[in-house]
Assembly symmetry: C2
Homo-oligomer: 750 residues x 2
């Protein structure tokens, strides 16, 4: 654990200047608006170790893989959300000396991310060019104008003589991905120009061997400043405008840079992109930084109105949940169904910015509760629109139906470890299950009876071909799979995967009974096919151990050396940093819930005793070395009445990045894991369930807390649930009257 920012309810701020934690600071101060985003790197440049990162949603490159492609069915490339052309760049010189905090040491350093309004501010004093100056940097990534990023620099002269300041506003295409497979740059510059207060660069991703369309990206900057325009220029990879002027003692100057970005994702030709840039720039040129910022701040306030969580008595927990929701909403707010939620969002290169099963398993249930249903529906549409890719993936494995990818941008699998790509197929079940989740929560059947029925049918076709019949056991089985617990690979009969397979087949059959004739005809599922699915679902093998009366995670699990994790010397933890992969794979240690994940999905289908026995058994072996782990355990712990355990597990996930628990936040934030703290409070502590269309709660208050309060969207309403030492209060903030269930009693809310 390493805490580098102060505790505060609405801010992530620090006064510490610590170059050792530069990458960590950059991750923590990332900003985004679903369409584009960036790490909190310094716009003026920094010559010490850091990680520059500007990313554009859905703009990626298929980086040819170096491994595995010689085996049939292996993906040919690893998709990467590539580091975009850097439009943030400023070069600042004071009396000829360039500002670079790796060279000048700042005083009164202040770095402050305001979660309420989505603004990042940085200020410091510094001796430079023989004088002392104060710099203040502000930036926002507009959540109301998706193409817009605003920057403002204020420079104040603290010395007693005039200083000369020169600021270059630049667009720089000379960027690299740290994770590129072949050390190459991904961008070709098509054109660049600079003229007065504007600079513009049009760039295009390099050609690739895989038929993936190249992206064209246009960027245009406008500068508004008290300084005088003195020069324009371009080089091979840059376009820039230079401004300069004198600042008198105790005076300050203002430098505002706004950038608009348009891409071939939205426009067919370079001309159209350029027109759009010109149109946007013209509109923005007339507005001040403050005027552009205002609607952005208002939209953030709206978001918080729908979904704020207030915790009294535990400021750390308060900050944790708000930071997590802020970063989650920055990454995705459902405005574009072609986009999704990368595990690191716009905060780093790791996981390539692509879509994982995290979206359906962890994010969708949160968006259902904190935003309008369209947002969650767009996540479902994302998969529907990628069905063609999922057919390709299944076919690559020689199988029928649709196999949704482990990692993707366009539906085509682009992860490249066989034990994941080929085997971690529970994802297909999670994607089916998300359709149920949405339908159950919203009551809206429009998706499941049309697009959803198609997705379910094609997933069921995959399952029906992927199972095999074991004559010895007279059961259908799934061999060669990897469950969510990736510390066991290539196992036979992963309980969770088998359960999802069985469930998907049954749910699909149920939905097929409800679809209209036209849809049924399009789906073309014959009675024979249905009988086969029914036969598989009825005879699916699910591991069960009568001695321990638990569900073994997979065949052979109970043959392992079942030494609890508590007996491992603490200096050997985390296992993934201390043990060989060989030892980890053979061990009983669980990276993240596998059986427990299944108990969560079907939480009402198991008795308390079943859940207790399995929780008790698996908890002793679980190391939570996935950031997605502890929160799910917390929900089950809460469900079975282990309140202290639930809170302990909550704390492990709620401040994962704020406290850098896994010692890897320098790479970027764990965006999809950030859902965990909300789920723990709402599903765990407050016991929220939707049963037959009715909201149920069974809350408890964590001992250290005085109270907690959250807002929740539900079928056109906003509810506010307050839990304090006197009990639970549930209010209807907006929408039609509704009956809910609190601790088994019906309440009518008006």
């Amino acid at each position: 654990m390493k805490r580098t920012f102060d505790i505060s309810p609405w801010n992530v701020a620090t006064k510490a200047w610590d170059p050792q934690d530069k990458r960590l600071q950059e991750s923590m101060t990332s900003l985004a608006n679903e369409n584009l985003g960036m790490r909190g790197f310094f716009e003026e440049g920094y010559s010490g170790d850091h990680m520059q990162g500007v990313y554009l949603g859905g703009v990626w490159f298929p980086d040819k893989t170096r491994v595995g492609w010689w085996k049939n069915g292996y993906p040919k490339y690893f998709g990467k959300m590539i580091n975009a052309v850097n439009f943030m760049k400023l070069i600042i010189k004071v009396n000829g000396e360039q500002l670079d905090l790796n060279k000048q040491t700042p005083k009164d350093f202040n770095l402050d991310l305001d979660l309420k309004s989505g603004v990042l501010k940085r200020s410091f004093k510094v001796e430079i060019g023989g004088s002392e100056l104060q710099f203040t940097f502000e930036r926002f990534v507009s959540v109301v104008q998706k193409e817009l990023v605003g920057q403002r620099v204020t420079v104040k002269n603290l010395s007693d003589s005039n200083v000369n300041v020169e600021i270059t506003s630049m667009i720089d295409a000379d960027v690299y991905n740290e994770d590129s497979n072949h050390d190459e740059q991904f961008w070709d510059v098509l054109s660049k120009k600079a003229d007065g207060t504007h600079a513009e660069v049009m760039s295009k991703t390099k050609p690739n061997d895989f038929g993936v369309p190249q992206f064209t990206v246009g960027m245009k900057t406008t500068t508004v400043t008290d300084l005088k325009h003195i020069e324009d220029g371009t080089s091979d990879k840059t376009a820039y405008n230079v401004f300069a002027g004198e600042i008198k003692p105790n005076s300050e100057i203002n430098f505002e840079k706004r950038t608009v970005v348009a891409t071939s994702r939205d426009f067919d030709t370079e001309n159209e992109i350029e027109q759009r840039l010109d149109e946007l720039a013209a509109k923005l040129d007339a507005e001040s930084f403050d005027a552009l910022l205002k609607p952005h701040e208002e939209e953030w306030h709206n978001r918080w109105t729908k979904s704020d969580v207030v915790i009294n008595g535990d400021e750390e927990a308060q900050q944790g949940i708000r930071f997590n929701l802020f970063q989650l909403f920055s990454t995705y707010y459902g405005q574009d169904y072609r986009l999704n939620i990368g595990p690191k969002g716009f905060t780093g290169e790791k996981y390539g910015g692509a879509t994982y099963w995290d979206t359906e398993a962890y994010c969708l249930p949160v968006y259902l509760g904190v935003a309008n249903p369209e947002i969650a529906r767009n996540l479902l549409m994302y998969r529907y629109k990628q069905l063609d890719g999922a057919y390709v993936n299944a076919k690559e494995q020689g199988l029928d139906g649709a196999l949704f990818p482990m990692v993707t941008f366009n539906g085509i699998e682009c992860h490249n470890e066989w034990e994941i790509t080929f085997e971690e197929i529970h994802r297909n079940g999670d994607i089916a299950y998300a359709i149920y989740l949405y339908t159950n929560y919203t009551g809206d059947k429009s998706y499941v009876l049309h697009e959803g029925a198609k997705v379910l049918t094609e997933i069921s076709r995959f399952w029906a071909d992927r199972v095999h019949y074991s004559q010895r056991q007279n059961k259908y089985m799934l061999h060669g799979v990897t469950g969510p617990d990736e510390y066991d690979n290539n196992v036979n009969n992963d309980w969770y995967t088998n359960l999802l397979c069985k469930w998907t087949l049954n749910y699909t059959l149920e939905i097929l009974d409800e679809v209209d004739a036209e849809t049924a005809k399009k789906l073309g599922v014959s009675e024979d096919e249905k009988r086969r699915w029914k036969g598989i679902a009825d005879n699916m093998y699910l591991p069960y151990d009568p001695q321990k009366d638990i569900f073994p995670e997979n065949d052979g699990f109970l043959d392992k050396d079942l030494t609890p994790v508590s007996e491992i010397p603490s200096d050997q933890l985390p296992l993934n940093q201390n043990w060989s992969w060989d030892k980890i794979l053979r061990s009983p240690y669980v990276k993240q819930g596998d059986v427990i994940q299944g108990l969560w999905d079907f939480i009402d289908d198991f008795t308390k005793e079943e859940k207790k026995r399995n929780f008790d058994f698996y908890e002793q072996f679980t190391v939570h070395e996935s950031s997605l782990s502890a929160s799910v355990y917390s929900i089950i712990a809460a469900d079975i009445g282990y309140e202290d355990k639930a809170v302990e597990l909550y704390e492990r996930s709620a401040r994962l990045d704020l406290d850098n628990y896994n010692n890897d936040t320098d790479d970027g934030l764990h965006i999809t894991s950030m859902t965990g703290s909300w789920l723990d409070i709402v599903q765990g502590f407050a016991g929220m369930r939707v049963r037959n269309g009715e909201l149920h709660y069974a809350p408890f208050l964590p001992k250290r807390w005085d109270s907690y309060k959250f807002r929740q969207t539900f079928r056109g309403r906003i509810l506010e649930v307050t839990v304090d030492k006197t009990g639970t209060k549930i209010e209807l903030i907006s929408g039609d009257p509704i009956t809910i269930d609190l601790d088994g009693k019906k309440l009518n809310l008006k």
Copy 2:
């Protein structure tokens, strides 16, 4: 199957000029002498598709891996026997036009590898420079002077006017490996010179990040020719001498090039290498090509005297066994215990020229029977000398003792797929078993009681740490292994691996009882440790299925969909070219024997009925997609009386490369698989076994054959076994009298 060379008892020859099969021809006409070797590429260059390859035994490069290194315990590099500086190169011009068979089409083409004497000859007529000429190329890689390669070119003018011929003899360091991970060249040139009839290049492998010593290699060529010396030269990467002259109609000229190679493997400094080159060149300068060739041919004759196999009535089989022995002896003849037998020897890049378990499992039993025991003993010494690396490998996995590598040059693991590197640990058992094999065959205990005891002890320490105790089954187990059948990965309790583990512990305990006090003290095995090993060996879990009365290959194997391979449509075979890796892993199809491999190792420990039941069960699922597979099945088939099956399986392996069965011989020859045909004839058809120091035979004659005859070395003797339609004749060719067992009867041979 594709047969491009003619059937002939002592030659691999063709008159077909087929550029489509250029790479295949190059593989088939490879030459080597254990110390160095090369593919049969054209020395004069060839601008069409081909694969140039000159390799130096034990000269390799650690090529940084692109995969897996982020997991603990992963190898950092993949070792490669790199393409050496090309000392074979000639540039031949006729009336100014350069000879290049991709540009001029040859007539009367003749390519002939003489197995009896180890000489490759190529001749053809060609229209070039406006005239018709006949070219004859000869080359040999001396098996008596390990540093020497001889080349001779004869050019005859078939036209009726004079032609001008210019030949450049070159050493060229501008070479690439097709399989380099980073597309880089591996050689730096230190110095080069050319002077009259000599050229010389000193080169050094590039620096690496892994502390692997760099290799310095010196090459010196001498040219002896009727042409006139006209020029010398060097460029960045080359050194060369140019010769030219007129050839009159119907006349011919002679051009002889000899190269000597010395490396830092044998000499400490560049100076010493250069001295050695000068000394060798001086000696060779005085000799003609024919004089240098003579002792080389004699040595090949000696080798055949010890080990020839004669088959009457089946010329294809005759050619197959001789080609296999020729290539095997070329790759390794035990002259340098620091060298070993790469699966493709000196014939291609694939498998990186490194050492695999093939050596112990397939090659050692052959060398025991065809050569002096020192040769097999050197293979054992190779592993002993690499114990330090094996400790490192075990430690990387967090385990005690020694883990010999899957792939290596220096003892350190350099394979990089986790399911192989970490898991295919049966290799450690095979290396232990080879010690037993040597000791049992030769009766020489000097190795096993000293170096061997050390190797066995450290392997046993590894096994004792790698097993775990399953409380549920009250047995010791090995989870997370891959057996020889690589079509099933990361399994639990591979029967073969568990059997070898148990056997190694017992054998080590047996040997520890025999070692002298001083050795015992050095080994330091306490009574406690011995008790632990005994406990594991006595309680090792070995999969057994009472219903089928067979040994399941691993846990879960019998739960698979057990459809025989005969029901797979033939257009889906071979599986590895038609099925996804996912489908292959889940299937019951066996790449190469796993249980069958165990039956072979311990062939006398199982009843005929046990062997039959297991053979019958596994044969129906075995696809023999490893070149090492069919020959072992053939031996077991012969053992259980399935004679026709044994012959059918023999035919599948004996001409694997000659008939390009696996359609991959263009990459190089399957050197280590070439042992299979000898094993099938000697252990299979002739039923040779060594029981309690006594040779046993129980021969049968394949129906299509008139007779077969092989020579075998045994404890200082050479025996000749002849099997024909009248019965079996066994003769003692040299050595002391001996009693052997033929079909259960004792024979005294004098």
